[in-house]
Symmetry: C3
Subunit: 288 residues, 3 copies
């Protein structure tokens, strides 16, 4: 008997309009009544593996010990593999398709210690069609893990190195500028970039942003409320990255920003030491 | 003391913007703290009893032993009856309005073994208005069933035959064609028809679809990914029915399909035996 | 050791598209595994403190004994205070920002018996940025309360009188008319006014409504179904207030009503005694 788990943390692109998410809950409840299912979100864009992978990577440090069930699965029913990946020596197991969805979260959790390919019929729900692997393959695997079924009993072990990697875009320097990418636009319209405050250390409190449709000067800050009306901020967000933001308005909407867009950060002449003269309202970057 | 239950599976058209769903959870938690509530979905179209009935019927085989709480209730406050319907000799009890919402799920679960009409004041929450029966009538009934209150104590028994039946459209043959109906359009834009692969057995791997706005040739398949870009599929879905689908795009949106639309399936001349010649990429229908 | 709680009832403006709500669930699960989290709603309009306060006030009488976690927090990261407010001598504790969000619910629950300002580092999750107090400050406070941490250990006590009050608009009489305000438009398009049946006692069964874009005669009723096609109702809603409603259609959409809009109720000449003559289908107001 392997370790038992009592929490399944669940993310998908199923949306909430259909009964998909509810049926997955039903399957887990039926097979592992003691397990609690936490919904991370089910509104990942349809088939948007990158967005799902990023959401999971952001959340993973808060996910309780247990099983993660993640399904964004455009290749459902094909020969793409279903996998269960153990991390942190068994503190957690991530279950889902082998399409890069799990990879960034696995990396954030310290890397895979073991992995198996799902597919043993005794752990799969029989179904007339092959289009709902979340219900028929992944949810049962998560539930059986909760019940103490050993990882190696769920499927054949594979070298974690063979799993499809996730692609996280990295910012690059170009002629002294920093070419970044919008990773995520949240519900409030903040556009998270793939750089943190360290990447612009010494640039001063104001930075020029070359956005897809305009160029704006942004103020470095740690709260939205410090931004004046209409002022664009580079706000230190809750994950330690910089987000293009407005106070109580949607920066993404007003500035026309979407995930994947390039944002070029350009150092202003009036940096650091001189900033106080040119921009008397410049705000210090508060580090926490 | 009757049988106790520990799961309430909950479906409604309440949406998630208001606190309706949360308040129902509160009522169940307050009255039956041990019960777990699973949300099937709350985004059934407003007052769309047919859509709610179909969602419940699709899900019911996965719903754990316990109570089902279903509320799509355009007649709330009128003399339409509130009912609790026992199925499978007590394995489950479905609670909701007697407007056909529960009927297809009850049938799928083997039919009603007993039924009562709700209304005993001791099992109803007093409220200033009569518009929120989910909170005041149905949730308390579900909670009291979880606590072991006997079905017959909740209300007067009625002959299950007197309950309003659900109407599930049946496909019909017409001049050798099959006139079907779109039952459901899911989050991914798949349009589920009211026919399965048996209904087109021997028709070959390609079938002509007379859609509301166009005629298309569809390929029978069991996965979305087998479909080429733009190719229309008749995909064997996870409930064993055929769905008009595209790969990673919304068939409903691109072909203009909505629940209730008629889709006429016409047998192509180049069927079965000859298909290989005319359509060299024809895919075999994989049965599972 | 103070009282322990086992339910956290959670409301926010986080929406469900991101993992915000799920991560808050994770934090509570991690710190207080025994606690159940009930989602009231997370679709309060962004930064709409008034709408959040009203939803919480409507729900509070149904919320089980335990902790309420409410986050609509446009001032996150500023010096606005985070608070925990005890009501009913410890039956409940409300946790959230001190911006008026909690105030109407606290009042509905009989007023604050004690309050503390959150901020002790040992009860806060360290985070790189200050923009997600729901995760870092409020959820941990809720979880620690569930675990039996005493209110006074969470922060410095403050006089409840110092907490920011909530603003609930009150209807006023003007030249014999009643000037009301739309408090809430629900999922079904019912526009709840800030008056109940007592406020129009003796006005008869038909009342003239001066709406923002039109004047309509409304029928007092207690069910939607009693309204004929297109007939405007003043329906006694489930919270004991009057709502401008249509049967199975959205009154808010068709009449152009939004929260905050003024609706002037004007007494018709054909009131009470005479109503029966002029309007033979006049419906009695059913009180419950």
């Amino acid at each position: 008997m392997a370790r038992r788990y009592d929490t399944v943390t669940f993310l998908s692109d199923y949306g909430l309009a259909d009964e998909f998410v509810g049926v997955v809950h039903c399957v887990v409840r039926d097979l592992a009544p003691h397990a609690r299912v936490i919904d991370l979100t089910h509104q990942i864009g349809r088939h948007d593996v990158r967005a799902g992978a990023l959401a999971l990577a952001r959340a993973i440090q808060y996910v309780p010990t247990g099983v993660v069930l993640a399904v964004v699965d455009p290749g459902v029913g094909t020969d793409r593999r279903g996998i269960a990946v153990e991390v942190a020596g068994g503190e957690g197991v991530l279950v889902g398709p082998d399409n890069g969805l799990l990879a960034p979260a696995v990396a954030m959790a310290g890397g895979a210690t073991r992995a198996v390919v799902l597919g043993r019929p005794e752990y799969i729900l029989p179904a007339p069609g092959a289009t709902f692997a979340g219900r028929d393959v992944f949810a049962p695997a998560a539930a059986h893990l909760c019940n103490g079924v050993a990882l190696e009993d769920l499927g054949d072990e594979v070298d974690p190195i063979s799993l499809l990697p996730g692609i996280i875009p990295v910012a690059r320097e170009e002629a002294g500028d920093l070419v970044t990418e919008v990773l995520w636009v949240d519900h409030f319209g903040n556009a998270q970039l793939n750089v943190g405050p360290d990447d612009v250390e010494g640039w001063g409190s104001r930075i020029s942003l070359r956005l897809p449709h305009s160029t704006r000067t942004a103020t470095m800050t740690s709260t939205f409320a410090e931004l004046g009306p209409g002022a664009v901020g580079l706000v230190l967000d809750s994950y330690g990255l910089l987000a293009v933001s407005l106070n109580q308005r949607s920066a993404a909407e007003e500035l026309g920003l979407a995930p994947g867009d390039a944002v070029r950060l350009v150092r202003l002449d009036d940096d650091a030491g001189e900033a106080a003269v040119v921009t008397p309202v410049a705000l210090p970057l508060r580090r926490q």
